[in-house]
Symmetry: C2
Subunit: 334 residues, 2 copies
Amino acid sequence: MRITALSGGVGGARFLRALRTHLDRTPALAGSELTIIGNTGDDITLFGLRVCPDLDTLLYTLGGGVHEGQGWGREEESHRVQAELAAYGAVPQWFALGDLDLGTHIVRSQWLGQGHSLTEVTARLAERWGLPEQRVTLLPMSDSPVETHVVLEDAEGRRAVHFQEWWVRLQAAVPAQRFQAVGMDRATPAPGVLDAIRTADVVLLPPSNPVVSIGIILGVPGVRDALRGSAAPVVGVSPLIGGIPVRGHADACLAAIGVESTAAGVAGLYEDFLDGWLVSEQDAASVRLPRARVEGRPLLMTDRDAAARLAGAALELALELRPGGVELRSAGRD
Amino acid sequence: MRITALSGGVGGARFLRALRTHLDRTPALAGSELTIIGNTGDDITLFGLRVCPDLDTLLYTLGGGVHEGQGWGREEESHRVQAELAAYGAVPQWFALGDLDLGTHIVRSQWLGQGHSLTEVTARLAERWGLPEQRVTLLPMSDSPVETHVVLEDAEGRRAVHFQEWWVRLQAAVPAQRFQAVGMDRATPAPGVLDAIRTADVVLLPPSNPVVSIGIILGVPGVRDALRGSAAPVVGVSPLIGGIPVRGHADACLAAIGVESTAAGVAGLYEDFLDGWLVSEQDAASVRLPRARVEGRPLLMTDRDAAARLAGAALELALELRPGGVELRSAGRD
């Protein structure tokens, strides 16, 4: 089976690692191929090095190198290089760059500088993390640079800052007035992105941020149309429980685009292509969608088994919504 | 007093640190200003980062951060980032890049990428290492990229390799057929370089490699003419004792350009501007130069006091060769 997922960072990465675990535990599904289309709108150039936070989190999480406690970055990390950058007075200093993590940024920047595309570079990085052996392909949403900027106003005045500055330095505490996806009008989907959606048996939307992660991927010209046109069922997992984001500042992002911070509000952003929507059990009774099936499940990925159950539930719903899916699911339970 | 020196890496850096110590210990000379013109022919771009080995060694040595045992790189260094680069299969791996050292390369590359000249970047790096407070100015020989390549022939065929590949990877064990200073024909001296030579009271040549360090600096258009035309005495320190390099592979370099590996042979490379030449005591009797005064001194910088004595002897000889120099020297001894 071919599964395609759109993903941001931490929440998406944990969900997709759990999905891979679920597939491997299910004999009929163990050979399934998973293609992840990762958000690159968070990407930022720091100290001349290209940092792709969501792709890195996906690589580290699926590759077994992530710092489990924080959900991003590397385990057993140190920060000796960054202390040097600070000693030289180099800026900015509000973005944590660990030594091990810097290895990734340096290699990526080197290879990009040699003329390789981000797709090619990401594939080479993924080899080190063993993704091909897991039958996982990680694609950036686009090889064109797209940067999410946030228009805000505070004591320093009205201005647009890089998404990371708002998210990391300002902790999303200053209200976002709107988001700008700089470069999006010139962006094209990375090679393989549209095909991965069009030829998928199932498309999953992990509980990633609906505005600045999945929303940005959906903005890449052609992606939304491919989802609308795909024969595969599209099943998503709500990133909110009772109006509260499971992680991160999804509520602040939704407020900026005038969408209610509820599971129903988020589903509305996907209504033109969404077939199934997993919400928390407490939200199940209140969410009604005109053309998508809603199911209630425990959404908290409190440990890796809970995460695998959630991923399994999303896949199960997709298979139910898919012609012939029941047989495949049954086979998986043998 | 204004002292200007041309310098390569380890030997030059130790000599110049010792010179600064000697100046500070001598009341009449403590206010002296030292301008160092550093070789940049060894510079190399690794992993997309600009590495300036000689400038870095000068910064770290004068700034008190050098690894004393090896003479280059940082003390208390680690190599976590490089292990990551290796894990990704990034090349080359034969050049040691410590974590602390990488901080310098990242900052330099960032600032160069912003459009700053190497002169400007070097000045900013030098601030962190306290060079201005020591009245030391470190200038790259040129802001234009110049790379020393080595023509050689081995089992892999006849080819030109970057100087660092010959020096570090091949340990200068494959005979160099000749050196090429790529970009030298288009290079211009960095701002301040010619003035530092023309307006100096004394010019010193530390015991740096006469071919690939000082020789490269001398090749920058205008530098040699400035030395010939300077009223300041030019005093050098032989990098060889009895035909053996004190450090490094100066003999292999001299062989490649057909010059005898002796103190006299090296002096011959400087004969058009050299006024004084310090050689080892064992070489003193055998070296005769037509227009430079030769003196024998212990050349081994076995510890920092020995190095300070050597630097003091070079300066003393220069002062003797300078009109009015004797008074200044006597004042220094009060």
